[in-house]
Amino acid sequence: MRTIVIGCNHRTAPISVRERLAFDDQSCVAALQRFREQHAEAEALILSTCNRTELYLARPVYAQPRLQEAVKFLADVRDIPPHEFTECVYHYEDLEAVRHLFRVVSSLDSMVVGESGILAQAKHALEVAREAMGNSAVRRLDSLFQRAFNAAKEVHSRTQIAEGHVSVGSIAVDFARQIFSHFNDKTALMIGAGEMGELTLKHLIEFNPRRVLVTNRTFSRAQELAERIGAEAQPFDDLIGLIASADIVLSCTGSPDPIITKATAADVPARRQYRPLLLIDFAVPRDIDPAVGDLQGLFVYDIDDLQRVTDQHAAERQSKIAESEQIIDAAVLEFVQWQGKRDVGPVISAFNAYLAEIGQGELEWLIPKLTDCTDHERELIEQMLHRVIKKVMHAPTKTLHTKGKDGKAHIYAATLRTLFDLVSDD
């Protein structure tokens, strides 16, 4: 069996192409069922995420679909003329296809290296393929994907490549979680209506804070945002009072000057009994004077602080790519060897049986003609025949096992099968 992948991703195709090639579950099932009708011998799986659409195929060596047919299939099911996306398409075969899948699932090929979403998406794609084509119809791809999942888990556990968030909002939440043990008695306050603040607030809301407050110089905007995210709008007049009552403050106003200074916030620690207060400043120019962080129990982070952590996490992930690639190389080699044995074993047995059958036929022709032949001589003739079969078998068996190591065994096995018209039980 050959393994083939064709597709495009965030590096090869602009979003205008990716969005046209994207599949949802329903269209994916329909496409795979259509594929099954056209190519009964082959297996297919579609991995479609916001950053990539890939068609994975496993088919007998001399069967359909070939590369051009696979591209045409994609074009047909998505109703796009092939010439509009063929330039963006990459394809890999056999060993390279396996390596590509292992890299994709381990998130080495992702836009954000180390993100864990792709593993879940690949698992879901396999589920959809099973549902669309039946379990037995994706047997080969199932083995391949299971190995890829194992390799991804090994990469993540050994290198910790997914460690450390790489979005500013997540980093802000990480800081909050390192300060507060639980959020169900905490109050989150958002000052202003910036997009980044809103995203971070939505992250925080997942931890069920007791109260979520929103304030803005324009009260109607605060009300609008509060309604959208399920928070309470508060007037801007008593800003320091609001800050003193909150535990986490996200600030993202368009103010040209700091709205919270050390002088204005001087009595905040005492008003809140010196409990910790986290202030995140997403605004540029800054809303919070950095000197506020000198006050007891107050932790102040601005956008540069968060970005610095984000950059370092991203750099750490990049530094782990080489180690991850080594793990993947070993996993790919192991898989290809396992698959090679699986492809080659039945063909060798069939070839051996084929030669033995010919030998037996020739013996049955020869023996009746040797009238003076003793039992001992007959035995020697049979032994000679077995030795010849063994010697004829030796070279192709060795070649097939050797080629198994570089992922080409299935091609030689298929050639042998075609040349001698062998029937094997694979």
Partner: protein, 268 residues
């Protein structure tokens, strides 16, 4: 032999915890509770054997046994903290201290002291002091982590510690409660110690002003009492200030327990 086995196990467990914290090695984390149970069982068998051999009064009078008991209680505290996010990383602090204490116990001369005259008071006094030391050491460790975390959070740099230890709030809470419980036990230990001394013949009574352990204990008691009072009465005495207090007192306590008590020939 048992002591050697449990000390080796403590060393291995401490190293495994350090690996878990440094590399988030989950596999090592799974075997740790079993190792801790093994250490506790080994130490309890050792202590049980020594009590049977020496008698309860002699056994608790031997500093080696008290130190092993303290290491066992610290390991038990580490075991109880397993799997709770609110005390994440506490085991990583307690086990190395337990290992150091147990290794330190081997340096103690294993002589059997003369049986005290007021044995019942003495047993309760020793056990209360060991139990209070467990809580004070835990409070000191919590204070240390609190200070380290504050420093890291204020530096605003990424650190491997972020996410591998419980949040600041939890460490403050652990420190406060452990100090409170430890102080209760310590007070009880001091009171039983005074009762024990009062029942001794005048010639055997310790000198309240020159016995280093007694003076250190009273100083510690006063410091903890002041810290606890400040925690309730002075709102600003929390966070870093309380953590500094817990770390300092914990360090003095370990010093009293391991160094002064070993060298003191006049206590008790």
């Amino acid at each position: 032999m048992l002591a050697v086995l449990s000390t080796v196990a403590l060393g291995i467990a401490s190293s495994a915890i350090a690996q878990r914290i440094r590399y988030r090695a989950q596999g090592r984390g799974k075997v740790l509770p079993y190792m801790m149970v093994a250490i506790i069982v080994l130490n309890l068998i050792l202590l049980g054997w020594r009590v049977a051999d020496m008698g309860l009064h002699h056994a608790v009078a031997t500093q080696f046994n008290c130190t092993v008991l303290l290491a066992t209680l610290l390991t038990a505290m580490g075991l109880l903290s397993q799997g709770h996010r609110g005390v994440l990383g506490l085991d990583g602090l307690l086990l190395p201290v337990a290992a150091i204490l147990q290794i330190g116990a081997f340096t103690i001369i294993l002589d059997v002291p003369e049986a005290p005259e007021t044995a019942a008071w003495f047993v309760v006094h020793q056990l209360a002091i060991v139990a209070s030391a467990t809580f004070f050491i835990t409070a000191g460790m919590a204070g240390g982590v609190y200070l380290a975390l504050v420093r890291i959070l204020r530096k605003k740099q990424p650190s491997p510690i972020i996410g591998r230890f419980a949040p600041l709030e939890s460490w403050e809470r652990i420190g406060r409660w452990c100090t409170l419980i430890g102080f209760g036990l310590f007070t009880f230990g001091i009171l039983t110690g005074i009762c024990k001394a009062m029942h001794l013949a005048p010639s055997h009574r310790p000198n309240w002003l020159t016995d280093t352990v007694i003076v250190a204990c009273f100083a510690l008691w006063a410091a903890y009492a002041a810290a606890l009072a400040a925690t309730w009465l002075v709102p600003s005495f929390r966070g870093r200030k309380a953590a500094f207090m817990a770390v300092g007192s914990g360090a003095v306590l370990v010093a009293v327990f391991l160094v002064i008590d070993l060298l003191s020939v006049v206590h008790g």
